[in-house]
């Protein structure tokens, strides 16, 4: 291993935290709790909050998982802990 394993783990925790914040904001935030604030933005006969609740959040979830997979595979290699 090129450096301390703790660096690897704290980088992992950091990226997980960022991803989960986005995860919560698009679903619980835009989709539910912040919907009244977003009601001024019209989209296809309704508002942006409705779109996030029925489509937007799902699309963001997919993006988050793939981003995390790419990020972690690179991090594994950088820290020399990838599978050989």
């Amino acid at each position: 291993m090129s450096d301390k394993p703790n660096d690897y783990w704290s980088a992992n925790i950091r990226v997980i935290t960022i991803c989960l914040v986005i995860w919560a904001v698009v679903s619980y935030g835009f989709g539910i709790l912040l919907r009244p604030i977003l009601s001024g933005i019209p989209i296809g006969g309704t508002d942006l909050g409705f779109w996030f609740a029925q489509q937007g959040s799902i699309i963001v979830f997919i993006a988050l998982i793939f981003y995390y997979a790419v990020y972690m595979n690179r991090l594994d290699r950088e820290h020399g802990v990838d599978e050989q």
Binding site: I32, P36, W51, A53, I58, F61, I65, N73, V81, D82
Partner: protein
């Protein structure tokens, strides 16, 4: 060719395919039976996970649930997909690195305790068995409607098919069969939706059609829908919902999804830790194909139904009962659609007779109560008939619904049988059992589970919705928190984890039973299930996250007051956090 022969042909061909694959991919070793020898490509595994996850509830019920309520039931869409983010980030890669076969095995090793493992086995069996019953009943209903046999016969056919491919094939057979089932179910779900979206909006992609213009009225589709439902006294389709319960219920479904053992074990089948991360992403892509279409199916079906009943708009006369379309006649015989001519005018008045503000309008129009009851569950199955699509589409929907129910049943049965043969028999009761003996025990356990599920499905306890809430609540309150703490904390010890699981489990059960009756026996509930009685206004179905919180809290406090886990356990946690060495972990 008549509809019955067509259904028989399409469903029969799909079954021949599944059984053929099961025989081709027969499992010979326990590694193949439990984890398909860890040789499954991540895209294939993603597809199999999607079929495993999407049950009769997703395929048959979900669009109907959304159609009936509108925006407030978006919770199902977010809840049943958002759990995969938790799985991919918090559980899947680490459990794959751990490299064993079952969820209780991880809990037992990480918390160095047979008691913790046994508590996990009990949770797993309760969660999975309640789920299998739902799948078996769903398959039974689909068989009885489309093959025109009675529900009991349908159920026995379903259990015979599951028996052949799950018991023979194990995980290896199940994985490849599920890939085929995914393809059947997604085609079956999408084709009618595309036709309907084209009819209503001229847009061939249903998720885009949902937000485009309704051709007939030149209004946006959702605005048109809001208009016709409010004209009949219903709440507007896009209206705001109860924020607290929407948030908690979504959270319960998300955490519950990530804690369901039959979903978690899918990630044991891929070759590498990196593949477990990819696999979760692919699973969600394949799930999203259905979940992005479902809200469009719901909204468009609601509009189509009202259009059928009020052909000239809700302001004009309703259709005469004798003139009703064939699909209504067909579904009346199942009892899931009922008409009662309350005002004796021979027409079908469908409106919301519980809305106080609408009573006056109803009286003026000479209506004396809502005359049509439609069960939400028939919506997806009846959709092709409502939109007057060709007969082969109706046969395809039947095959798709059965694929969804049977693929999930198989995955659940595998989780149950591995918990019994591996966790209970091999590692607890009879450690010297041979590999052949263990494989036999796994198959017997699976056959037993099929029998129990079929018998319970024949006499359904009549509380499908409640038991599903129980399964998710329990998974959220018991399994997910200990798995997460086991990976992300080295300090949580066996006493903390065991007590945490028990507190989460018991608190969730008691809260549910208080409002829904002890063990769901009607009449034994201590408080009536109305919002005024709920603790802080939290509905029983939304209690999962509170149970999870109690589990986390108890485990943390108890662990801090007792001794830290031994060094070898802390080393184990250290080792599952890095991917290197995962290959070696498979050869134990």
């Amino acid at each position: 060719m008549d509809q019955y022969t067509l259904n028989l042909l399409i469903v029969g061909a799909s079954f021949a395919l599944y059984v053929g694959i099961a025989i081709w991919a027969r499992a010979g070793t326990t590694a193949e039976f439990y984890a398909a020898n860890r040789g499954v490509n991540p895209v294939m595994n993603g597809m199999a996970t999607a079929a495993d996850w999407m049950s009769a509830a997703s395929f048959i019920s979900m669009a109907g649930l959304i159609a009936g309520v509108g925006y407030a039931n978006s919770t199902y869409l977010m809840g049943w997909t958002g759990g995969y983010v938790l799985l991919a980030l918090l559980l899947a890669p680490y459990l794959r690195k751990f490299g064993k076969y079952t969820v209780p095995q991880f809990i037992g090793d990480r918390f160095y305790s047979q008691t913790a493992r046994l508590v996990a086995v009990v949770c797993l069996i309760i969660i999975s068995v309640t789920y299998v019953i739902g799948q078996m009943t769903g398959a039974g209903v689909a068989f009885s409607r489309f093959l025109e046999v009675n529900v009991s016969t349908g159920l026995w056919i379903a259990s015979a098919v599951v028996f052949v491919y799950a018991v023979l094939g194990g995980m290896k057979g199940i994985t490849y069969t599920q890939v085929a089932q995914y393809i059947v179910l997604i085609i079956a779900y999408t084709i009618p939706a595309v036709f309907i979206s084209l009819q209503l909006t001229g847009n061939a992609i249903p998720p885009l059609g949902l937000f485009s213009t309704h051709t007939e009225s030149s209004l946006p589709l959702l605005q048109k829908l809001d208009q016709v439902v409010t004209d009949l006294g219903f709440t507007a389709y896009t209206a705001q919902g109860d924020m607290l319960n929407m948030t908690l219920f979504t959270l319960s479904l998300m955490i519950g999804t990530a804690g369901l053992p039959h979903v978690i074990i899918r990630f044991f089948t891929v070759p590498k830790v990196a593949d477990a991360r990819w696999s979760a992403g692919w699973a969600l892509v394949f799930i999203a194909l259905l979940y992005l279409v479902a809200p469009a199916v719901g909204a468009m079906a609601r509009l189509n139904i009202i259009d059928t009943i009020f052909p000239n708009g809700p302001q004009e006369q309703a259709v005469e009962y004798e003139q009703r379309p064939d699909w209504m006649r067909n579904w009346e015989t199942t009892g899931l659609l009922k008409f009662e001519d309350k005002n004796g005018d021979g027409r079908i008045q469908y409106y919301n007779d519980k809305a106080a503000g609408f009573t006056e309008t109803a009286t003026q129009r000479g209506w004396s109560g809502n005359e049509l009851e439609i069960n939400n569950d028939i919506l997806v199955l009846a959709n092709p008939e409502i939109a007057q699509l060709p007969g082969w589409v109706i046969g395809l929907i039947a095959a798709g619904g059965l694929a969804a129910a049977l693929s999930t049943a198989a995955g659940l049965l595998l989780a149950i049988s591995s918990a019994i043969s591996h966790d209970l028999i091999k590692d607890y009761l009879k450690p010297d059992i041979s590999e052949k003996g263990e494989l036999m025990a796994a198959r017997i356990a699976m056959a037993g589970a099929i029998l129990v599920a079929t018998l319970l499905g024949l006499n359904p306890p009549g509380f499908a919705a409640q038991t599903v809430a129980l399964a998710f609540g329990l998974a959220a309150a018991s399994i997910f928190p200990v798995l997460m703490m086991g990976i992300f904390s080295k300090r949580i010890n066996s006493t903390g984890a065991t007590l945490g699981m028990l507190v989460g489990l018991i608190a969730t059960c008691v809260y549910l039973f208080t409002y829904l009756g002890w063990f769901f026996i009607p009449g034994t509930n201590m408080l009536e299930n109305v919002p005024a009685n709920h603790l802080f206004g939290i509905s029983p179905a939304a209690f999962g996250p509170i149970g999870a919180l109690l589990n986390f809290g108890t485990a943390y406090v108890v662990s801090m007051m007792t001794q830290a886990p031994p060094q070898h356990v802390q080393d184990l946690v250290e080792s599952i956090r890095v991917p290197r060495g995962a290959g070696a972990a498979t050869h134990h």
